[in-house]
């Protein structure tokens, strides 16, 4: 160290965190206020603009439309909060679906098909995590690569066309796949249960605390004794597992498994997470936020149909909402020092 007179007068420099405000006090109470307000606004617009919007059929329809993406968004959301990312989920979703469908078709029965699908997803996620850890590359790069690899494996396995003609399995296809309580499908209920569990784990357990700690400052987390490396692998494995769960459920719901299904899901899920207040550089966010973000996207898609606008507009509107959400997040959090939330290798 050389001498540094500037350091002795650092008190004259403005505090990096900006002037003390009331925000800090409430931040831990509810971080998702912004997205909640946004969801309510869209909900209000919907109910005022179309008489059909508030019907039970329509609302459960919206919920159903985000269910399969929802599983994916839980895994990706947790990874993002820890400063990781997984963009291979759409491919894992399709691969698990195809594997489960093929097992069914070949007469292995529902339990084996379920386990097979989930196992493949878990393996895919583990590969993502271990490769990222061993060759010390950002998960963006690894999952960008496996996004293609897993998709190719899916296409080859399925022979390029959807898998149909599975034998009858009333409990799986008609019961689990189509049934429900009060208009809400069992699959959606399963998704909501998983989401609530994930939120509880994030908020209330040591694992959740460490996850936020790693996302916010991985170096400090390591020095405090958190196994940052293992957590990275565990999160990508979990993300793969949840994507696979979604894929297997989609087989029950759709009675088919398309090898090109789920393409582009990763981008929708990322958009939902960001709209929902997850900081891309990690350390901030919640599963509730991600799900509300997904709801907003679901409502937008629904309204475009209800209003009779060309569906070609869907992605454009989602994009504009994304920018708006990030702007609001930036305005409310800019006093916290983490500058550009997108800038992370």
């Amino acid at each position: 160290m050389t001498d540094n007179p500037e350091a002795t007068v650092s008190s004259a420099v403005p505090d990096p965190a900006g002037p003390a405000s009331e925000r800090g006090r409430w931040r831990f109470a509810f971080d998702e206020l912004g997205i909640l307000v946004a969801a309510v606004i869209f909900f209000a617009i919907g109910s005022l603009s179309s008489p059909y919007f508030l019907t039970l059929d329509n609302l459960t329809g919206i919920l159903q439309s985000i269910t399969f993406l929802g599983f994916l968004s839980i895994g990706v959301g947790l990874a993002l909060i820890a400063g990781e990312i997984d963009i291979s989920v759409g491919s894992i979703y399709a691969l698990a679906a195809v594997v489960a469908a093929l097992l069914l078709k070949n007469g292995y029965g529902v339990p084996v098909a379920f386990a097979g699908g989930l196992g493949v997803g878990l393996a895919c996620g583990l590969v993502n995590g271990i490769v990222a850890q061993v060759i010390n590359v950002s998960a963006v790069v690894v999952t960008l690569a496996t996004l293609g690899v897993y998709r190719a494996i899916t296409l080859v396995t399925a022979g390029g066309s959807p898998i149909t003609g599975m034998p009858e399995a009333p409990l799986f296809f008609d019961g689990f796949g189509q049934g429900g309580i009060a208009g809400i499908s069992y699959i959606t209920i399963l998704f909501l249960v998983v989401a609530i569990c994930a939120e509880i784990v994030l908020r209330k357990t040591a694992f959740g605390f460490r996850l936020l700690a790693v996302g916010s400052n991985p170096v400090a987390a390591r020095l405090v004794g958190f196994r940052v490396e293992r957590m990275r692998i565990a999160l990508l494995a979990l993300s793969g597992l949840l994507a696979a769960l979604s894929g297997v459920c989609s087989v029950a719901y759709l009675h088919t498994a398309g090898p090109t299904a789920g393409a582009g899901y990763e981008l929708t899920v990322l958009a939902a997470a960001i709209i929902g207040g997850v900081q891309l550089s990690g350390g901030r966010g919640s599963i509730i936020g991600v799900l509300l973000g997904l709801c907003v996207i679901g409502i937008i898609q629904n309204l475009i149909v209800l209003w009779g606008i060309s569906p070609n507009w869907t992605q454009g509107v989602s994009g504009i909402v994304l920018i708006a959400a990030v702007t609001v997040t930036w305005l409310t959090r800019r006093d916290q020092g983490k500058a550009n939330p997108i800038a992370r290798g």
């Binding site: 540094n4 007179p5 831990f28 400052n217 400090a220």
Partner: protein, 499 residues
């Protein structure tokens, strides 16, 4: 040489600079002659950095003037300083890592033809410059792949290319190996051969004495004196750096506590095999300059980096591959950099302290926030973080309080050994005293403490025992009472004692 004897290459006079209430420089006069290497030295806080920044034009002094070959240089402008021929090679080099050696050297003086870069002329120009430095780096190599010594060469080459005639080298050898440093000294010799001048800023007196013609010592922002290197000895210079400090230190009895951590031949990159005993209740100060290995020693003992050799903690061999292993064995490490590795600045102090408790919990252990909050509050009380709002982000706290939060978290880990790296960095004088008391208090409770500081006097004040390091090896150790600050300065700067 010509008329340079009358008009020095560079002359600075009456330079003064204040930062708020702090006088960083007072009426500093300083000159460099053509063909001379001029050593500029001083303790931490003496004003070297400020003077360098004024020479480079990065900051403007409150008063004073600067002239190159008798012609005044406008102050406070990097561009004007560079045009006048002043080139500062910083500790952190300003190179483009993804560009080639050639592109980097020619970056500030690109020869063009009709708006396009003239590649052939550029190559010739760069080649000539590197030849004059007596080196042969491959021009097409990328800078990212070069060693630090080679990068310094590139930086010097760039300055030469841009017509530089006065080179300020700021701690150029702090991260270099001995042969690399020797190479740099050859380069410096080649530069002054061409009638340029070099200002060599270093903590390492052995080097300063080896290569300079004159030495100027700064102390507390003033020039203490300028000497011909030939006519002066290390003792005079260290004395000028340190001044007459009354040694009013508390006398301490030698600790007889049991050895908690024993290192035998422990080494890591940059540290030669080291023997070190840390006793319960004892504070050991590692004294050494940046790059001397003190920081690395703490990192390897704390499991932050891999170590080879034997480390025994509490009677059993320890092979730490992760800080978590060390923490389980009761060895905790505090990093020097609060922003990067020390704290979650966007989180509250309670949150930061809770991290230590949560480290012990199983993954799905339920967090009882009430308990965590009470425990955290108690720990923060213990270290004296005043009852400011403990829910607001740590970033809003003063440096002293941030340092206390880190200490509170370490204490929460239930340590037997605490490794404190630069334990009062960025902390004001008053808070320093309080942190010293905290450290002494922890030692009194039976914790073995090993710490480093850039302030050697502080080490003498806090530590029971001093271990002195130079270039990665231990050069002296003994009770703190057996060191004077003069002796310590000479040990860390030259690696040997005066007598």
């Amino acid at each position: 040489m010509n008329a340079s004897a009358e008009a020095p290459l560079l002359s600075a006079s009456g330079i003064s600079k204040r930062f708020g209430g702090v006088r960083a420089l007072r009426d500093v006069a300083f000159d460099v002659r053509a063909g001379e290497v001029h050593g500029l030295i001083g303790a931490n806080g003496a004003g070297k950095s400020t003077l360098i920044n004024i020479l480079s034009g990065a900051i403007a002094p409150d008063s004073g003037s600067l002239a190159v070959r008798g012609r005044p240089v406008p102050l406070g402008s990097v561009g004007e300083a560079r045009r006048a021929g002043l080139a500062v090679v910083h500790q952190e080099l300003m190179l483009f890592p993804d560009c080639t050696v050639e592109e980097n050297i020619a970056a500030t003086s690109l020869p063009t033809r009709g708006g396009f870069v003239d590649g052939r002329r550029r190559r010739r120009m760069v080649r000539r410059v590197l030849d004059s430095l007596g080196t042969s780096i491959d021009l097409s190599r990328r800078v990212a792949g070069l060693s630090l010594a080679e990068r310094q060469l590139v930086e010097i080459g760039r300055a030469l290319c841009g017509g530089g005639s006065i080179f300020v080298l700021d701690e150029p050898t702090s991260a270099l190996s001995a042969p690399e440093a020797a190479g740099l000294f050859r380069t410096i010799g080649a530069i002054v051969e061409e009638d340029a001048g070099v200002v060599f800023v270093s903590h390492r007196l052995d080097e300063v004495f080896a290569i300079t013609r004159r030495i100027t010592v700064l102390r507390d922002g003033q020039v203490e004196g300028t000497w011909n290197t030939r006519d002066v000895d290390v003792r005079t210079i260290t004395h000028a750096m340190v001044g007459d400090l009354a040694d009013a230190r508390p006398t301490r009895i030698e600790s007889t506590g049991p050895v908690v951590l024993r290192a035998r031949g422990a080494s890591a990159p940059g540290v030669a095999p080291l023997d070190l005993d840390l006793r319960a209740g004892e504070v050991v100060g590692l004294a050494g300059l940046e790059g001397s290995g003190t920081s690395t020693v703490l990192e390897m003992l704390g499991g932050v980096i891999a170590a080879t050799g034997g480390i025994v903690v509490g009677g059993s061999a320890a092979r730490f591959r992760h800080p978590a292993d060390a923490i389980r064995a009761g060895v905790v490490y505090m990093p020097p950099d609060r922003k990067r590795g020390g704290l979650w600045l966007d989180r509250s102090p309670l949150w930061n302290v809770a991290a230590a408790e949560i480290n012990r919990a199983g993954s799905l252990a339920w967090l009882r926030f009430g308990t965590l909050r009470r425990a955290g509050n108690r720990r923060l009380d213990d270290v004296g973080v005043r009852a400011v709002d403990r829910e607001q982000p740590v970033a809003r706290f003063s440096g002293g309080n941030q340092q206390r939060v880190m200490l509170a978290r370490l204490v929460g880990m239930g340590p037997k050994v605490m490794l404190l790296n630069d334990f009062t960095r960025g902390v004001d004088v008053k808070a320093k005293g309080a942190i010293h008391e905290l450290v002494r208090g922890l030692a009194a409770e039976g914790v073995a403490i090993c710490l480093t500081s850039t302030d050697l006097d502080e080490l003498l004040e806090v530590a029971d025992r001093i271990v002195c390091m130079h270039s990665g090896r231990q050069v002296a150790s003994g009770p703190a009472a057996s060191f004077t600050s003069l002796r310590l300065v000479s040990l860390v700067t030259t690696g040997s004692t005066l007598n």
